[in-house]
Symmetry: D2
Subunit: 154 residues, 4 copies
């Protein structure tokens, strides 16, 4: 796969987790569930520690829990690579569910496909289980709001 | 838009709500939030009563809350039109977020594009606010498990 | 479905067809195949006159012919509603194929879900046959390049 | 990324090209343009030799040419891994266009995310240029028709 070797993260996983906890209070009570575990040039790894509350009929992790993991993967990419502007928003997300996932750690390997001035496109491989099978795959787009220049705030 | 006038629901909105409450306990504690408000031939209307817990940074309803509404719209369609088999699963969902939505009632107008033996394809217009603007639009696919034949249960 | 009643087209179907023929020479030799047949506030109707060349194994219209119709539907919407700037480009397109379509006229009913300054989101119902069944449904996004102001060109 | 190391192709790239040429006559006159260049366990590489006819306004390769490459990537995967049943059809394809591509060879690196009995899900990285940048990325689903048993044909 093509690499985006020119990209450089500005924040670590720990810094992104602290930032999300601060700007996103509604995520707080779920915060031991969703977290960034790595940030690297051109991507990140995020984790859902899936428990009972994330299950749906059939005993598998719900689509909306996996959607949230995919969305957080993109959010961590945009926060870490485009700067900590919490107001970036998802404009599109497409997700395919390919296998059932049971409760336990579920990892999202997220890759930036394009980082432009106003849009970031990413994909994410969501894997689970002892064999690391893909359980879902998503692609999405974040809209990046124009940055307020420091001068203009002076 | 083309109509699927040959489709006929087998369950009412109240029956679907009761069924979801029974088979989907994890949704129970959110149950005053997501509900079916209408089921009609070829589609349904679902509602999210969005409160503080559904908001994200910027004070708007989170993508994952709207994803869940879209997914539930498809689930209500498949339960009501293909029969109350709770094990149907989403295989694909694509969602576009086009406007910010504030807390309050958010309605999803859901339409079956195809109901086959093993797949159901739907789309959903998610509207909010006094002017009923589209805030998101999604299309998705549910996989319908093979029905157990009556003989084999004898 | 929610209407975008505030939108007003700037070009007619005939004007859009003439514009596409002029800026898009590669489409020329296919031009009796793809055409705009109506432009109205918030949307348009486009048509593919599908012949032998548009078929795939099984004798049905190929996915790429229907993709092209969906893409042209969005293009006609952006040209007619955002202005005749031929350099708008598709950034995302998601298409579901739900029924086989045979050779003959295939109509795409296209609706603008959002017209912003830099993005237009649309969906399109593609219908065919004597009963007007949906054969495919797509949603997509066009990126609209910043308009050059008239002053800056003086 | 997770590997599907248990998958094993039944056909080589040359065999798939010969098969496509035979079952898909409409592709024939474009056949030096689209071709399989490799088939390996769990995926394939396909190439578009993009020329003048594949360009759109702005001098870049058209979205529909890239869509066709993505679709052929999935088709080669399904033909080579699920067996040479030409009647498999695309049910969903989602494509993001992230950079302009100029005329020249454009490669699609295609990976099977899931190969089930009735569905195959794949993604494809489409790269071009001397630096091998991603120009588009797609995910899609092929429906695999039930195989006719040999007995029933006797």
């Amino acid at each position: 796969m093509a690499e985006q070797s020119n990209l450089k993260p500005m924040l670590t996983a720990a810094e992104v987790n602290a930032l999300m906890e601060s700007v996103y209070p509604q995520l707080n009570n779920q915060f031991t569930f969703y977290e960034a575990i790595d940030v690297f040039p051109g991507g990140c790894t995020v984790r859902l520690n899936a428990g009972e509350r994330h299950l749906r009929p059939g005993g598998t992790v719900s689509g909306s829990s996996l959607f949230t993991l995919a969305d957080i993967g993109g959010y961590v990419c945009v926060l870490s690579h485009a700067g900590p502007d919490a107001l970036s928003v998802t404009t599109n997300l497409n997700i395919n569910f390919v296998r059932k996932a049971e409760a336990g750690p579920i990892d999202g390997h997220c890759r930036i496909l394009k980082l432009g001035k106003s849009l970031m496109v990413f994909d994410i491989d969501i894997v689970a289980g002892p064999d690391g099978h893909t359980v879902a795959h998503a692609t999405g787009t974040y809209s990046i709001p124009p940055r307020k220049s420091f001068q203009s705030q002076a």
